[in-house]
Structure formats: C-alpha cells, structure tokens
Symmetry: D2
Subunit: 136 residues, 4 copies
C-alpha cells in the first residue's frame, strides 16, 4: 500500500539549547504532515476545511516514541499511513527518519468535528475512499 | 502522596483558528510543568542542569489523551506525579484540568543524558530521594 | 506616570542552540505583556475581546532593539507604557530588563479592529481613560 | 540587482484565533528566510555555522511594517536584499507578498558573533563578496 510522504528539514526554530529538536516542535512537524496529507494527498486543504467547510480535525490521542535525536540541518523523511478508519475518527501512523535512521514513530487518532457546533461528524464516503488509498 | 502542582493560563499564543489550544502548544505546557518541577520541586533548575552540570532529560516516549478542548483564558491546573523510577529514566504522569474538568492525561518517559557525550547516566541518589516524594 | 509591569522567566522553550532567547520567542513575550496589560491592567481580557466582543488588536508596526542576550532561567522584568493614543490606534513602549540590565526596547503600534468586518474601530472613551493611566 | 527569493506557505501552526498569521510566527518566517539565504544563497548553512564554525548571527534590531493580514493557506513570496554591509554587521530588507499584494516590509540588522566568546567578528572577505551579489 502506498503511504503519504514528504520531507521537512530541521530548522533553527525547531532546536533547543542542546542543538537537537525540542520535542514540542516535532508535534508541529507531525501536524504539518497531516495538514499536507489532507491538502495534497486528499485534496481537502486546511483553509477550505476550517474556513469554508466549518470542519476541524482535533487530535483525540497521540503517542510518540523518539528513537534518536534530530539535529539542525537534518532532512527528515516523513510518512503517513492510515491504520484504522472509524465513522468520524481516524488512526494514522506517522514515521520520521533521516537517511534511513528512524527518528520517531507516532500513532495518532483524529476526530472530525463541525467547528460551529463542536459535534463529531462522519467522514464523507468520497473522502473515506481517498483515505483508504493510504491505508495499511 | 503529594503531587507537584502549578497553574498555566491558556494564552493567545497557544490558540489555533478554532480558538482552542493547538495541541503542539500543550507539549510546551507539559514541558514547562516538568521544567518547573525540576526547578522548584526538586531544586535542580534547567539552567543549572543544562549549562552548568552538562545534563539533559530528553523525552523517550510520550502519550497524551485529550479529554476536552481548552479555550483562550482558561486557567489550567497541572499536576505531575512520579510513576516509575529507573536507574537513568523516569515515568511521570501529568494531568491538566480546568475548574475540575479533565483536559488531558499524559504519560511521559524521560531519560537523563550527559549532554557532551550523549550517554545516559544514573540519577544521583539524593535526587531520587526527592523525586520519590512526588511518587504515586 | 505609572507603567504596567510584569515578570516573565526565560524558559527552555524560548532558547535556541546558543542557549539564549531565540528572537521570535521575544515577540511571544511582548504579545503576552500586551495581553496581560489588557486583561489585568485595563480589565478587558483577550477572551472577552476576541470571543465575546468581536474585536482584535493586530500589530501594524513594531520595532525592537536588542541590547543584550537573555539566557535560560533569567527572570525578565517587563514594562509597558502608552506613548500615543489615536482614535483606533495606540503606540506602546515595552521594555525588558534583567536585574536592571536592559535587554530590549520595543515600540509597537496596535490598531483595534472589528473581527467579523475587518474594519478599524475607535477605542471606547472609558477604555481610553484607563489606557491614559499608563501614559508617559 | 538580484535578490534572494523563496516561498513559505501559511500553515495552521502560524495562525491565531482570527485565522490570520500571529505576528510572532512571522518572525519565524523572517528567520527562516535568513537561514535559507545563508544556506542556499551564500553556501554557509546554519548547521555548519553554529555547530562546526562556532559562529552565530543574532539580530541587533528589527523593524517590521505589516501591510495586510495573511490567511491560512496563503503562499507567501519572500525576498531578501542586502542594504548595508558593516565589518561584522549586515542590514537586510525582507519583503513578503501574496499574489503581488504586499504583506510586510522588514529591515533587520544582524551581527556575526563567535559563539564561545560572545565577541563580534568580521565577515570573511569571500562571504562579503557573495553577500554583495544580493545587494541593493
């Protein structure tokens, strides 16, 4: 099964006084992987989702294992694979590595909400079909 | 057993276009809870740890469940309890709530490293004794 | 004339690989000084402003001189003074120092907008009266 | 004279509860423009600068005018031009626009320091020659 892939470079803004990625910045990178997947992978960009369609996809739970530190200038290879699809939720596995060396493994559960009501809402069938192309 | 407690208010800088906390910012708050615990709870502030004593405490794994969104201006009650002490590692449970409503539950594993060598190092006995006062 | 004052400690999350404050983080601190001034100084907190009253106060221009670096653990003394009041705009001077040593001088112009229309709007007279108490 | 150019998209992580860029995040983008210019424009990447060559380029002063808000999903065109070269300092002008509409104008002064001593140090002649290719 294909997975979604993108690269993100470790920038000065991600690094802490030990010159390695400060782990809250990894969650910005994880979020950006999800954002880019929705936009270029699924064709439903965050601007349209949030500002036009009144939807959001907050994270319900997330678990990350950090395998090795990442340093300023490292080019990280990110991948995202769908692991479970619920009616309004979704489990994805996100991996980051650098030159083949694993840096982190993340498992995250997203839930689709209507922003104006705060209620969960089922994924449209067409979107689920696209998501399943990135399934495991 | 006593736990370490502090308050952190949800500020503009934490909030996303849905006016709720953007989850990577929660990890800044989680890190600040650990930082404040080391400083005012254990008497080993991050400046001394990182800049004088050549130590760091990177996160090896972290798991968070988000129970309800937090909004701009919410005053969050944070608590930290030690759950497991290894020779160079430590498991802590961190909870956040607002006016008694749970917002998140976090379990995190930290490892003490020597910054200049990148090698894990055992906690001093005196520090372990202080840590155990916050145990569960 | 009295100025608004608060303290903010330099935390791990503010520091770069040189173990000094990464300057974009100073702008978070500057924003927090303004946010706290509106809330506790003027009695118009950001939650009420943004979520109830449909107002925002974007920055139109800002100028900062950095006098000396700030390090992890430094406790910074922040002050804010009103320098000019327009009908819908406001110039403030924000200073940060540590143990009497100047760290930065900031001059910022804010403009009050109606969020839903994107139009500037005049300050209420009552608010202007309160603002003028922090004038220079 | 040619200027250095790059694109940066407005991401979810940059946006505030008004769904526009929170201005401290613009300073991350400004810094990234400088970082990318040093790396791909001048051939002296931040990893090598900071971790190998013991140099840093802190910002001494910065001034930004914000012309119009930027929204989630906007693709910003950034440009950087050298405006003044001192022996150890440098003035750059950084502009951002979206589809030809100006968003901000920034003037920033950088100073080269030796990280381990905290002392300013003169730019190497070879680097000055490269910098001057982006001059105004």
């Amino acid at each position: 099964m294909p997975v979604f892939q993108m690269q993100q470079e470790v920038r000065f803004q991600h690094c802490d006084p030990a010159a390695i990625v400060f782990y809250p910045r990894y969650f910005e990178m994880i979020n950006l992987t999800v954002e880019e997947w929705f936009g270029s992978g699924l064709g439903w960009g965050f601007h349209r989702m949030h500002e036009v369609d009144d939807r959001g996809i907050p994270t319900a739970r997330i678990k990350v294992e950090f395998h090795a530190p990442s340093r300023l200038g490292d080019v990280l290879d990110w991948s995202l694979a769908v692991k479970r699809m619920g009616s309004s939720s979704l489990d994805v596995e996100i991996l980051a590595s650098c030159a083949g060396e694993p840096r982190l493994t993340c498992r995250s559960t997203l839930v689709q909400f209507v922003k104006s009501t705060g209620k969960p809402v089922a994924w449209p069938e067409e979107l689920k079909a696209k998501m399943s192309e990135f399934g495991a």
